[in-house]
Amino acid sequence: MGEAAITTAIATEPAVELKGITKRFPGVVANRDICLSVAKGHIHAVVGENGAGKSTLMKILYGMQRPDEGEIRIDGAVVNFHTPGDAIVAGIGMVHQHFMLADNFTVLENVILGSEPRKGGLAVDFAAARKKIKEISDAYGLGVEPDALVEDLGVGDRQRVEILKVLYRGARILILDEPTAVLVPHEVDELFDNLRVLVREGLTILFISHKLDEVLKVADAITVIRRGTTVASVDPHEVTARKLAELMVGSELPSPETRESTVTDVVTLEVSGLTMADTGAGPVAKGASADELRAAGVRLLLDDISFTIHKGEVLGIAGVEGNGQAELVEAIMGMRAINAGTVSLAGADITGWSTLKRREGGIGFIPEDRHRHGLLLEAPLWENRILGHQTREPNVKGIWIDRAGARKDTQRIVEEYDVRTPGIDVDAAALSGGNQQKLIVGREMSGEPALLIASHPTRGVDVGAQAAIWDHLRNARAAGLAVLLISADLDELIGLSDSLKVILRGRIVADVDPGSVTPEQLGSAMTGAGEGA
């Protein structure tokens, strides 16, 4: 932690100063009286829960939104940004959480896209661009290769390309929005090394995060945001992670820990030899096994996956996103065709069943993207209650929709799952993310499912809803539910799971004991660091 003190610039004028920033959206105040002062050459962390208003604040600073009240000063001068273009001119650069790179372009092409150096008025001056990229990369120790194709790069490299992109445009103040969300622990360390070099060279970094241990490791100063306003500015050397968390939440923290095991020896879900080929490159032979497909050089999205989940057991799947988790879920739900393997539920072979039949057979599904797969946003809550249960009581009677029954049961879910809503006739879109998710959890738990597939069940929800959802999962598990849990939150995975498997490039590469593993160990297993020859 001693490295954190590397700060050479003398704090004279703050690089960024925000005074009394307030931003209202219809019905909510996203930011209220924000005050923030960032010293030159500092890594300044802005921490807060999901939904606390960090992103809005950064959008304001980057000119994507305009504050209703308040003042922004850059290097002491008052600025008024109308577009991100204005912010870029003022030397502010933003590295987005989700990379904005074209995969089929080289690093060089991605970096210059939109600000190409010209030669003779028309032609792009690639030589000059390459030279400049090289210079920047060397000066800040980014180690970026200008002619590499972006699709060949790993996540950490892509992030460095994003950083280089903003440096190329002359940024002196970098905003990094949740930069570690997509990284595994050792990549995080590399990123922090890069950031330390950047500030040593005189740049200023605004680092948005809600991961406290990381913030404490890297930041020179920390500002805490809660419910849209700045509640504290603290020195990382004088604060503990626990204290910081309490500042963020304003109360005691929930924990995903489960206590005693409720695992039985009754098998609920058995998956064996599940294989799915990437058909993007063309059709593949039907009925071919994983070995045959591999021999034919076909890329496998799911490669011979087998596991069982017992009644009362939570099986966690850990992995860096995009390693087959989504495909695994869709295969078990019957939403995507598989090439080989079988799925059986409580002893019955369901491999050939439709999604509807699987749902009727007792599979509940909390999808990864609730807006796309879980809800009809512009339909009232009670219609959303019917979704996925269109063939079952109390929503239907024969071919007819049972409005009264569906409405009554929606009211039950709203009460039992504490969905904060003025009524069941409001559109799902009007609810906050946490309340939408509670509605989905309540819906998927109805009809006594045997298996619940929970894909990132607490992503993007507030701490209160998170604790409630964990409680519901634990209670259902105690009542004999089998749960397949997929999550990017390693604490959640370790805390809730009875057993834990690691998925990498579509294969199960490791079994981990959630009782003894640390997030760091799990993280390195996720990148294949523990994988032998």
Partner: protein, 375 residues
Amino acid sequence: MSTFLDRVFGRVGLGGVMALVAPALAVVFAGLVTSVVLLIAGHQPVEAFTSLVEYGAQPRVLVLIVNLATTYFLSAVAVAVGFRMNLFNIGVDGQYRLAALVAAAVGGAALVPGPLNIVLVVLVAMLVGALWASIAAVLKVTRGVSEVISTIMLNAIATGLTGWLLTADRLGVLSGNAIGTPPIPGDAHMPGMALIPGTPMKINGFLVVAIIVGVAYAVLLNRTRFGFNLRATGRSEPAAVASGVNVKRMVVAAMVISGASAGLIGMPELLGSSFEYSLNFPTGLGFTGIAIALLGRNNAVGMAVGALLWGFLDSSSDALQLMDISKELVDIMKGVIVLSVIIAYELVHRYRVVAAQRKVSRELAAPAETEGAAA
């Protein structure tokens, strides 16, 4: 979030008084624009509109309006079934023309006696419409062909096919210079209803069929499982898939229903006034249906109102000619109405979303006593 198209095609709800006020304002706005056009052309708007309304209020014209509206409404329903699930059946036009031709030929052959022949003709028309539409559906689910493209092309093919079928050695019969299908015998004509006093003209009996179709459409969509699945697919296909809806089957089913409804479009004309399919058979009704479905936001009552409005504009346009005003003015008015209705719906929708969010956060922010009352 809903897209602009979702809102245009009524896949997201628009509740309350605003749903009525918006189109009414749009019609008023269209009247204003038309007035400007009239003024530029050197006519008196007030006079023109008065004569439009006076003309349209005559019993004879009222019958015409209702009869036109019956046909337009059937066309709008056929289009709306597809729109509700994000399926753009642009091919309603070809479907009804081909259906009417084949049905006319079957009816002219008088295979069964009397009223049974009416039933046979209608069933044949629905079957042909459904089959023609299902070509586009099958192409979409098996080969991924956009139904917009395929139905437009099928319209052109239908035009060619009807032309080929309507020749003397196939389904057509020459009488003088005109060619048409053999006339449907008198015992199989749809009886009219003398509902409006003061004129010997009768309301087409298919008005009853149109009302039944409208009710069936509303019930099917809003009260049945099938309708729920159809609307869910239209609102969000990924969510429908995850909920267990077989989207391919829904595409085929919706297209078949749309095509079968399209088959009905030519029936009021065929069984109520022309009794044969000839070169004079009305064309382009499928496109009128698209405009009316937009106007009525795919809502049965809304489409009925829209169809009546269109019927009024179409049949009263003759009044303009009496005043030396070009009847194309009515087309200007129609265009402006559709355009301003869409804009009005969009404005109302935006207002509603903001209002709903505000309402939710206000009610949630209210003191705990409301929560206590709810619990």
